[in-house]
Subunit: 458 residues, 2 copies
Amino acid sequence: MMKNEKIPYKTYLNENEMPKAWYNLRADMKQKPAPLLNPGTLQPMKAEELAGVFCEELIAQELDNDTPFFEIPEEILSFYKMYRPSPLVRAYCLEKKLGTPAKIYYKFEGNNTSGSHKLNSAIAQAYYAKKQGLKGVTTETGAGQWGTALSMACSYFGLDCKVYMVKCSYEQKPFRREVMRTYGASVTPSPSMETEVGRKILAEHPNTTGSLGCAISEAVEKAVSSDGYRYVLGSVLNQVLLHQSIIGLETKAAFDKLEVKPDIIIGCAGGGSNLGGLIAPFMGEKLRGEADYRIIAVEPASCPSFTRGVYAYDFCDTGMVCPLAKMYTLGSDFIPSANHAGGLRYHGMSSTLSELYHQGLMEAVSVKQTEVFKAAEYFARVEGILPAPESSHAICAAIDEAVRCRESGEEKNIVFGLTGTGYFDMIAYQKFHDGEMNDYIPTEEELAVYRAKLPKVE
Amino acid sequence: MMKNEKIPYKTYLNENEMPKAWYNLRADMKQKPAPLLNPGTLQPMKAEELAGVFCEELIAQELDNDTPFFEIPEEILSFYKMYRPSPLVRAYCLEKKLGTPAKIYYKFEGNNTSGSHKLNSAIAQAYYAKKQGLKGVTTETGAGQWGTALSMACSYFGLDCKVYMVKCSYEQKPFRREVMRTYGASVTPSPSMETEVGRKILAEHPNTTGSLGCAISEAVEKAVSSDGYRYVLGSVLNQVLLHQSIIGLETKAAFDKLEVKPDIIIGCAGGGSNLGGLIAPFMGEKLRGEADYRIIAVEPASCPSFTRGVYAYDFCDTGMVCPLAKMYTLGSDFIPSANHAGGLRYHGMSSTLSELYHQGLMEAVSVKQTEVFKAAEYFARVEGILPAPESSHAICAAIDEAVRCRESGEEKNIVFGLTGTGYFDMIAYQKFHDGEMNDYIPTEEELAVYRAKLPKVE
């Protein structure tokens, strides 16, 4: 008790306490995540098959299930210094307001212009692209955080950046687009007429508002058909979880410094970039039998890949130009209802996290949209930070756990990932304030339609 | 040289190094700022005359020209911990890009949801209103930072918050309005039909897009005509400069810790809240003859109160309901051209800063709008932070000074106030990108019209 009372509002690591290497969670997994498959041969993808799409060193990171640590290059450490370490915040005001004996912490990743944790991997991917001598990179973005982060990273290294932005976000978030433009990126609403796959989708569904899966297809096509370009992705992939491990490593170092052991670790989950990063070193201890933690993934009830998806091989994109990945998936054609605001709208989930979930090493819950925004507003008023809708899924679950502690009297240490800020999500907040937001959840019948289209892989 | 090379990217003060008292610059001024005058009697305003408009303790702070330090109440220190200390950042990337031998630093005040330094005074004013047992406060806001900050502070203390927002900002920045709403504030576009002064102005100028001076009049009228309400203001006043001294005190403490002495201190200036706060302890040393610094105020060429205004008594508001203040002013009817984006649009300037400028203790420069946005974009790409248009005035001047150092070979230490972020200013950025922004500057003839209307005070 005494110790906890001395805990500062915010804990920052000193420069000499900062992690110097990323941690590769897969090295400690006995059952490795299932490999990416070539959709033609159904054989595991080899590095040379991926080389037309991805940067060389990133492919090496993607396929390496054994090396536990990857040294962070000096140039990336320099860039990290511009916005890292991020603070581990003790949510004293929230605890008081909830009247809970639980101790609540959050790792705040929103203190950079991209507004989220996405910059951690964007700068790494841009670095390796530059090192390979490329002209530029292509990518997709949904809510816009990833595209913003990548445009910042590319601007830093002088790389061209071509972003396909899911059409409904492009229209709902013109300011995100303008931020990317400020950093020199070009932004195209997806589906577009610029690519074959875009033209095909528009011909079939002229009124589509787009999807991440479709924007991925366009970005990949553009990369492989342009000289000196490669495709980069902000979530799902093993390499992304590797780079994002900086979040968890800092969090763990801060807790060690405070001599606190978290009991419950909570992260929102779309493709898994933040969750995989936040939990990495803790899950590592769990896998090695050194410690135990409750780890909870929180996803939108309107896009419930963990809680209502199936664990199977599926396409990563709508155009089926990417390798097959084994993951919890709703089917590559699944698009959350138009009323769904914010990100966390990907149909699948990181293969690594899927395997860990499948093994029962973590839990998953889904939360309804209006509950998420209630939690977001509550948090804003109490803790001062206006959270991103994505992050607010984790806030919602953390509040639920803290309320349970109030009922049981338990003084648990709860930590959640506050992945970003909601400054570019005010249209969603406005809908919430005006009562125009609903809690539509896909029916079993709807999900069955997409499930039936899963590729057959033995 | 060796010492400078070891300077970290960001310097944060430890909790025990944080200022515990605000510094009142006026205590060290031999020639005090001119007092507020009662517009009827032209006699200095007494505390009891101000008591219907302002909170009691804030009036005491406003009128106190002698007490050098005011202890910061514990509740405010607690709130400050949620987002302070703010970092003093060494702009290594900017220096390198400019190829300058100058060392550039900035004090970054944007890491809170209000997006600017305004929160420093908002929380203080809300605290004293709460302590006095009030129901709520009224205020005006232009670009929206102050209104956002006040709504956050009022939410924290459970006070009602009524904001009159300059109509053109209300329309151009719907998201700022929505943030205030998230924090529970009510927001009315000004001029409105809610107040007598608003109705009068609308009758005379039905198409007006509003002004700060007009919104102030409405907020004051609302406060004095509502039971349990007082009016609060985010700039210009002595009390605001007092609260904002936290910026300068932290900056000075960080420099002392680094064993660096700044040569040039640069701040943007609208009403003077950031500038007055940033320079306070440095100007104090200068007034006491302990050190010398070049201090530069940077204002928009489209609203040039320091560089083209006159030093005279003037109304603080359009409706002439406030006391008279002696200040550099363009005349209380002055409104910057509609093309002017962002804040720094007040017709006058803090009395304290005006007196210091009049005594030759600081310099002032004006910069054109497109130069400001050029500097903003340059800075964003190099340093990663997307700056507010207001802050970018200081960036622009800092870059100019650093370029001069490149030419002269001098290794000066330059520090500027990066007051906030530009996330809610993307419409202005968009205009800049699309070439729709101009550099309109008021003509001498235009300024003469407003100047002729200054009140006659002997």
